[in-house]
């Protein structure tokens, strides 16, 4: 079996062979022994790679799998190798998607710092959310023109709830 795996800053093809009881993983010309065993304790696995022991959590997380290793959660996408070709084609077509600013946690919106029509820079603070007695600024990841405000100040929001929509500014 062959898979195409992507994580931030990297993508690779991974191929599996079974040789008797052994499972061999091939990646970028290297061959590694792997043993992957689910623990009785959740969505968690013990992974031995050439004898190195790792405890990893794999849980579905939106568009990707969220893999937690040593406390770091890393989103990884796994696809069929064919998709690599398709994706390459799409990337050429360029961006042009709306940005949605969402609440990173449940809380209350204590301030909205922009209004519809404003031009927002990349990294600019657009709202303030209060949770766990702390106020936190939410920033625009890409920036753009505020096309729609979806909440008001003093409104309680759920984790992941969309707060506003930004339209990209075409260069």
């Amino acid at each position: 079996m062959k898979l195409w795996v992507m994580l931030e800053g990297r993508d690779a093809e991974v191929e599996f062979h079974t040789e008797g009881e052994r499972l061999v993983v091939e990646i970028e010309g290297r061959r590694l022994d792997a043993d992957f065993r689910r623990l009785p304790d959740g969505e968690v696995y013990s992974l031995l790679v050439n004898g190195r022991s790792h405890e990893v959590r794999v849980s579905p997380g939106g568009a990707a799998l969220d893999v937690t290793v040593r406390g770091a959660t890393i989103p990884v996408e796994v696809r069929h190798p064919l998709e690599k070709v398709l994706q390459a084609t799409r990337s050429l077509a360029g961006a042009g998607f709306d940005e949605v600013v969402a609440a990173p946690m449940p809380g209350m919106i204590v301030a909205i710092k922009v209004k519809a029509g404003d031009l927002v820079a990349r990294g600019q603070a657009v709202a303030v959310i209060e949770a766990m007695k702390m106020q936190n600024e939410l920033v625009a990841r890409h920036g753009g023109i505020v096309s729609e405000l979806l909440v008001r100040e003093r409104e309680a929001v759920r984790s992941g709830q969309a707060l506003m929509r930004l339209k990209p500014v075409t260069a």
């Binding site: 898979l3 992974l47 568009a63 406390g71 959660t73 890393i74 990884v76 946690m105 936190n136």
Partner: protein, 505 residues
């Protein structure tokens, strides 16, 4: 001298659990109170008794004075332990306890009133002859007064709310051009957070260390010094990591420091456990900051080094008994460190995180104490602070403690929320930390979120794990289902394909 049979804990989370443990060891019935979302919190499970006191917001429950006192009276509590935060340093609450015939485990209302006001505390320290950071003699009444005082004291300086605390109501001002904005922000914050707009000015010490003295004072006038703690590692003026002894201390400094702290406590007629906070400048001079009239979050490092149970001492003192060790000097052994395990994301400006604790496996083994307020499955309520647990280690010397802390952090399994275990790993692995060169600017100076980016090996392991997981899912769906009964696929590929690649926060 009384003897408590029933003690109510007016708190929640790890500190309520901490107090329950000592009460049980002393054969005193522990009585928890809980807000609605805390019905299945750990302190409710562990207490002998538990009583509801209102809805989630603190002001309706843990900070609702009448409900807490009424509950204590109804359940016939002899005393109330306030923990830290909430009513711990509230003179009005201490007074209300006394009026209801219930012992407040802490200093009397006069003491907490006198020491809770930072300006009054400064007056007391001045009278006791203890060095203070140069600053305005009292509150600064207007922006013009502030300008004048600032010129006399010199920049950079700190604007501080007289009623402030917990890292709130203080602001660094680098130059006169920033003063006006800082002045109105700090006053506004002080007014809204503490209902007291009084603000004063202190000179800002460059690269200071935060050091504090743990003291215990009994009714017969004994004041004991139980060693210092260094709490320089902070973010947003809030402590993240503490240790004892301070790597900056030697015996002569410790002796002067102990003497100053005890002098203040005696002058205040202090009773109970308290902490005298100082800042230490790079030349080895220390300056009085404030007195915390309660148990500190970081008290376990002192317990590890001295072998004392500070909550048991608090209870003895409140019962009118002398300190358990009398007039003896309490020797400290080795080095202890505490890492506050907080639900926050150090990669995203230490933003608090909420969610469900999906899995835990806490560190164990020699020299490790982990005081958790959470358990597997627990949903963190949004109303309270984000401290999940305190990881405390002890070893014979500082480098041993540092290695043990790193080992215990490596063992820490806590899934479901963002937390700062990786931050602490970064911290104790940092050469400047290992060398003991600390200051309250440590995090600002040395920490960058990219430091927590997973390394190459970790990324590769994540890659393998995802691929192997996917392989198992595919093998599963290509195998005929057992009994042919289950026909629904568990394959989630199409769903995951719906949106574009998600980037990591």
């Amino acid at each position: 001298m009384r003897s408590f049979r029933r003690v109510l804990i007016a708190n929640r989370g790890e500190i309520a659990v901490r107090v329950i443990r000592t009460l049980r060891e002393l054969d005193i019935t522990s009585i928890a109170v809980f807000s609605e979302p805390d019905r299945t919190a750990l302190h409710v499970l562990m207490a002998d008794e538990a009583h509801a006191i209102g809805p989630g917001p603190s002001s309706e429950s843990y900070l609702h004075q009448d409900r807490v006192i009424e509950t204590a009276v109804r359940v016939k509590a002899d005393a109330i332990h306030p923990g830290y935060g909430f009513f711990a340093e509230n003179a009005r609450f201490a007074g209300a306890c006394a009026a209801a015939g219930i012992v407040f485990i802490g200093p009397g209302p006069e003491t907490s009133r006198a020491l809770g006001d930072k300006l009054a505390a400064r007056d007391l320290a001045r009278a006791a002859g203890v060095p203070m950071v140069p600053g305005s003699d009292g509150p600064v009444g207007s922006l013009d007064d502030a300008r004048a005082a600032a010129r006399a004291i010199g920049y950079p300086l700190m604007l501080k709310a007289a009623a402030g605390g917990g890292g709130k109501g203080m602001r660094l001002v680098s130059s006169e051009s920033d003063l006006e904005a800082a002045w109105s922000l700090t006053r506004g914050e002080a007014e809204s957070a503490f209902g007291d707009a009084r603000v004063y000015i202190e000179r800002a010490i460059a690269r200071p260390r935060h050091v504090e003295a743990q003291i215990l004072a009994d009714a017969s006038g004994r004041v004991a010094f139980l060693g210092e703690r260094e709490c320089s590692i902070q973010r947003r003026h809030q402590k993240l990591f503490e240790e004892t002894p301070s790597p900056a201390f030697d015996e002569p400094l410790r002796a002067r420091f102990a003497e100053a702290a005890c002098r203040i406590a005696k002058r205040a007629g202090y009773l109970g456990a308290g902490t005298v906070e100082f800042i230490l400048d790079p030349s080895g001079e220390f300056y009085f900051l404030e007195v915390n009239t309660r148990l500190q979050v970081e008290h376990p490092v002192t317990e590890m080094a001295t072998g004392l149970d500070l909550v048991a001492e608090q209870i003895r003192i409140a019962e009118g008994a002398p300190l358990s060790f009398g007039d003896a000097r309490v020797p400290a052994r080795g080095c202890a460190m505490e890492a506050r395990i907080v639900a926050e994301d150090p990669r995203a400006g230490f933003m608090p995180s909420v969610g469900r604790i999906e899995r835990v496996r806490f560190p164990q083994g020699p020299g490790v104490r982990n005081d958790a307020g959470v358990y597997r499955g627990y949903e963190i309520p949004v109303y309270y602070d984000s401290l999940l647990a305190k990881l405390v280690v002890w070893a014979g010397d500082r480098d041993g403690a540092r290695r043990r802390m790193l080992r215990a952090l490596d063992e820490y399994v806590l899934e479901g929320v963002h937390h700062n275990v990786a931050f602490h790993r970064w911290l104790v692995s940092h050469p400047e930390f290992a060398a003991g060169r600390l200051s309250t600017r440590f995090v600002d100076e040395h920490f960058r979120p990219a430091a927590l980016d997973p390394g190459r090996e970790t990324s590769e392991i994540a890659l393998f794990a995802a691929a192997l997981h996917e392989r198992e899912e595919r093998l599963r769906i290509t195998l005929p289902p057992a009994n042919g009964a289950e026909s629904r696929s568990t394959w989630r590929w199409p769903e995951r394909r719906r949106s574009g690649p998600r980037t990591r926060r």
